[in-house]
Symmetry: D2
Subunit: 437 residues, 4 copies
């Protein structure tokens, strides 16, 4: 998971990208990078506010930016990646994965090509460069059609900004008119946060590239047949609650998942305690249909970030981040509600904590199905062997986290919620092993 943004023909492009990336920061906190006019670049490890402190580039009017989720890689490995080609200078920021990256990389190197990084982004640039066209836009189109992958990307060239999305539309991408130019971002909420109007925000359609050029009229080029397989985890966890996909709000979807969770399980208790902040929307849904009140049984310390000298121990980190409220929990039966469960290690610590704080019974409700498969399309849900649900049925999982009950949504129930919203063709590969490619 990463966040990307692009700006075309807008004053103070650097500032605007900065604000967009701040709104996309939840998609990646490990590194940030921006490239603006003249391919001037600022990159660094850490949060947007600590990386983008340089005010030298304020006068530009175009650029792209990236926030990165994963932790590996050195300074050179921070996106966007820029290169010189015969077809002009080009810079690319990328959210997702190229499925056959190793093969493609090998193919390029066998033709004599060299790589500066290990990033998939660089493969895209190579394909742009080797495309059998002299025209940069045709070259990009060719590259996109050759790379079967799960990605969204923004590309800055001397003569255009491009926004592209793979044919499955696995990762989101939106654009909007803004002042005299255009803005592109991974989530529509980021566009709205800087003042784009809802009615002007549009999806970049799967299988298309949109070129923003000096004509200042977006030109949409289709490079592949659309075959929607949007990642359902975007709805459940990745995206902000004020983001919308297919015209449906993620907070509303999460509430519906919470409602469905109650319909399927009907567990009763004194209180619902949301596992902040991701479990809050689902808790609301569960509460609305069950009538069980929500309580503030866990407090979150928002200042605990990436402190150098923090304990390495996962348990101590969680204990500093979340505090249970004994005055609320003492002697009560509670339902902890969270959006998903991957490895179960954090939930196990939370269950311990609320018990120590006096909770009499601790039930754990998850408003998505058990994660049984890893994802090759850009989500770091890790190797299958690490996924707790692949090794355990619900009972064993309950035992592991130490809850009195543990329940999650059925795959069918999950599917119904999306269908009920009119969202079709969603990918649930990590829940049912049915992947697009």
């Amino acid at each position: 998971m990463c966040g990307i943004a692009g700006v075309w023909n807008v004053d103070n492009a650097y500032n605007v990208i900065h604000d967009l990336l701040l709104s996309l920061q939840h998609r990646g906190q490990q590194a940030a990078g921006v490239v603006v006019n003249g391919f001037k670049t600022v990159k660094g490890e850490g949060l947007v506010e600590s990386v983008l402190t340089d005010e030298r580039f304020l006068e530009g009017n175009r650029g792209i930016g990236h926030v990165r989720y994963s932790t590996y890689g050195s300074l050179d490995e921070i996106q966007p990646i820029t290169a010189y080609t015969l077809k002009g200078r080009i810079s690319v920021a990328h959210n997702g994965n190229i499925v056959d990256a190793n093969e493609k990389r090998k193919f390029i190197m066998e033709s004599g090509g060299i790589f500066s990084t290990t990033l998939d982004t660089e493969i895209i640039i190579h394909y742009f460069s080797i495309a059998p066209y002299t025209n940069p836009r045709e070259s990009l189109q060719w590259a996109m059609s050759r790379i079967k992958a799960a990605y969204s990307l923004v590309i800055l060239h001397d003569s255009f900004l491009a926004a592209a999305r793979d044919q499955f539309g696995i990762r989101p991408l939106f654009y909007s008119k803004y002042e005299n130019g255009y803005i592109v971002a991974s989530e529509d909420s980021a566009l709205r946060s800087i003042g784009c109007k809802c009615e002007e925000i549009q999806e970049v359609e799967p299988g298309t590239i949109i070129f923003f050029t000096d004509s200042n009229k977006p030109e949409i080029v289709k490079f592949s047949r659309r075959q929607d397989r949007f990642c359902s985890f975007e709805f459940v966890y990745f995206a902000r609650p004020d983001s919308n996909f297919y015209g449906v709000n993620t907070h509303e979807v999460r509430k519906m998942l919470g409602r469905k969770l109650y319909e399927e399980n009907r567990v009763q208790a004194d209180f619902i305690v949301p596992v902040l902040d991701s479990g809050f929307s689902g808790s609301l849904g569960y509460s609305q249909v069950s009538g069980i009140p929500i309580e503030y049984g866990l407090i979150r310390n928002h200042y605990i970030g990436r402190s150098f000298i923090m304990p390495k121990n996962r348990q101590e980190i969680v204990r500093r981040k979340l505090s249970p409220l004994p005055s609320v929990l003492e002697g009560k039966e509670i339902i902890l509600i969270d959006d998903s469960i991957v490895r179960g290690t954090t939930m196990k610590i939370i269950v311990d904590m609320v018990r120590e704080a006096g909770a009499k019974k601790v039930y754990v409700g998850i408003h998505s199905p058990a994660v049984i498969g890893s994802c090759n399309y850009g989500i770091d849900t890790s190797r299958r062997s690490e996924l707790i649900a692949t090794r355990n049925d619900a009972e064993k999982l309950r035992e592991y986290v130490g809850a009195d009950k543990l329940f999650y949504l059925s795959v069918d129930g999950y599917k119904e919620v999306f269908e009920g919203c009119g969202v079709n063709g969603i990918c649930m590969g990590c829940f049912n092993l049915d992947y697009p490619v």
Copy 2:
């Protein structure tokens, strides 16, 4: 408002203070400082995690730390302040204000004393130095008894750690046994976050100094008669929801204030929308007695901090920090609930935002009375002229923020809630102009 912490006879004192300050970070985000064994010092502007990155001091077993709220002052002005005196080296961190600081400062300077800073903390050190005793502990006791003020403080001396609180106990301070030594902090939640046991946490009583020495038995010295006037704003806003004062949990108090708000006003609506995060507890209380459901109508971006190139404009800052959820608000009557209202400028922006997002009616409920007086005891509620309620009655305030209704708690109702919890002698000076000194 500031946060202070102290550690005595505990391994890795620097790390422990780091963790305590992280837990107190909500009390001050402008600067942080730590002094450990040998008076080795790390200080800087910014958050704890960006200031306390130095791992050189890891081997110490005692120290004090400070997080600062206010924005003025240079690097030299960051606490703790350390000095050499005839009675040994001494370092002080301070939460609160000396009421007659200017007079005391002048008195010292007239006797030939010099000041390195403008901080009240340095006055305390001077009084320690001029005290007519050779013994450092008696000197400190004398200094405390001479300074009529509203403060809590931690003091590191070659031969002791001391924790002290003025006779009114305006600012909180707690201590606890921890491993083989002792820990001091502004809030009990900070002590618990690092593993102190609830039953070992005790209040530093107003009008006393507690000395932690090589005897490793806390020695409590009374320097003034206790006359409790604890700041009620600590309950309402400053402290974390998992903190307790007088054995009463702040989250519970806020819920009761929310309930009382409904009892006094009985405003009906489709939803309650908490103004995150401070209005959440009060919203729960209001919801519980009114039966009006809570909804997640405002989303907060936690990554918007102190970014360099942020817009200076208050409205744009609020708009990036909080997003309204149109899918929730569209066509609805809502009650925005917040803990307090000081200048009203932020609330005005929020009311605008939720209206733009489609709310049909916007009511604003505040679960404390109108702030009509400034505070001389360490809270930056500013000069009276800036307080909106001093210039406006409720109707004018409503008009200013643009709400359809605006209601807050009566002073009597507010008082009743505290009395109902058994919390007496609370200071409500900013609401009723009845100040302790």
Copy 3:
């Protein structure tokens, strides 16, 4: 002009490269970079001591390093440059120029290749990658034979360290046994500064690559016929006075050039004032044959480096760097001796300064001929139009710098000195426009 270094099979490679680069710092003060085992990289703008502060890489046993002279380029443009190829990972540091860089770059890009930088170094990596061999050593050999250029380079590969020099041997390169491994550096003085023995130091011969591999026996591969055209400016100005080329010490050559300067001109005066530090050796020679004593008429401030807030004005910079000594100069006839004159602007300021300090007559002696041509082989003597001697005969040059006399060495005299030392085939292109390619 740049400096390069390499280390193979030596403990604490990072430290050793650090020390070598410090000894080569006179060859470039703008940027520094090091790559060690695993291609771990430290790079930055500025002096070695401010860039190489990271101690994380101390455990490596091989690596290469670079100090850069020119001022253009961003962080990405600092050498060494590293890339992934089918033949393994490779890192290159480079001193010199590829003559037909633009053509070669275009050729690579026309074949679909992409460039991350504007550096010639990257061309070398591309040629290594496209070489029609799978073996990396054969590939490097092929690349060297294809690139007709003026360079010395060090290359780090997973399986070897290589040191290579173009067929003309324009830039210097030396290697030596050191402890259990080998060391490579631009000047022999750098090798001696870390303790290499004189008798073990050898030149990398023009037209050869030396591979250092796990066999730990240097393998010398000839890729082109040696045609010595060593840069005479290395003798005159670039290299340290304790460096040797062709077994001849640069300080000794400079003294001989000073002697020859007197033989050709026989200018008399009260004192010789060396223009520090570059004119010192030549002054000694002139003094020895003329009998005119040297005096310390100009003092240099070694702390004036690259201060941020220095005056931009060249005159003020020179005036802060060099101070004249009135007590020495007052009423005297002096000969200022410097090694070369390129634009003449600095000398003009110096002549002004010594006159102001009281010198009665100011003669300027240069112990090399007038620079009339620019150099395409790695020396930044700029475009011909900026060279003062191309626009002026000696008289006009004298007038420009404001001296009472100005004299320099004849091209023939210059040549004789080298021939007299047994140094043949030297390049004097910038003096006589006779370039090797």
Copy 4:
């Protein structure tokens, strides 16, 4: 040894102090600090060019600055030191020592005073504060008359800049008109480097304070009877060769000392090799009377500064800093000439190095007497026990450094040189134990 500077009523005061401190950098490389209008302060460890990078204060027109020699102390301990007093805010920078600092410090603390630092500078501020006057200028005068010490200082007050020198005038201090205002600096060469005219440069007389005020006419106040005991080491070693004291140039004095050294010893050899840069002037003198030519037998690497990862070993540091030139030294008898010998450890390493490089005979000539006493007046010649000459007669010293001969100036010869120049009342305490106080 330290360097101090002050600026009054001059545009861009910060820049001017920066340039002055660069010219005084040889007096201290460990730390630098500047205070300008409004007592805005920039301080840090390291060289001027790395500390004074902040351009925020450019608009001031007055200020003081300091460069520090010694290595102890934390950030708080960097001068200038600023304090608030009843008589206004005051900032002090100080070159020298207070002889009875411990007593004075104790006296202040016994009166209840506190110290923020361990610096003598703070004692001066305390005396200013306790002076029985309300007028700040009278207070300063009183303070100076009470503190018997060896110092020069600059003081910035809201209403004046002051420059003061103890009655013995041990450390130098000069001032000059500059543009519309005045400049103060430790050496006249610093004043000239920024453009002050020689004829306007004046000594701050021992036992006086000069006040620069809004009247813009320097007011000279005598606080003690002048009793000249100027430090002779300033002539021999500390000051730049282009500095003058008592109208006598240091380079000329050093030459005379070199001449006297030959007169007293008449050692013959093939060459004189100056130990750069401090031995150069003396070498010239020795060469002029002896007729023995100077040769460049040792090269200095100016880039070796305070690199982090340098070898801690003194021998390796010297070997990286200085390289012997075998082509010069091979088979020769040489005289190494240096200005002084304190511990002898560096000279021992140099003698080893030149022998290894082939020198047949190595003689060591020192153009000052043997250092037998430590100095309490601001020079870090260390405790007596560390001084080699106190433990060894010339023969033992020769043996220790490994020279074939070792000779230095007699105390009488040394004295004669100064008398011959008309410089009287010079302090030679470290050579003859006759100290001023």
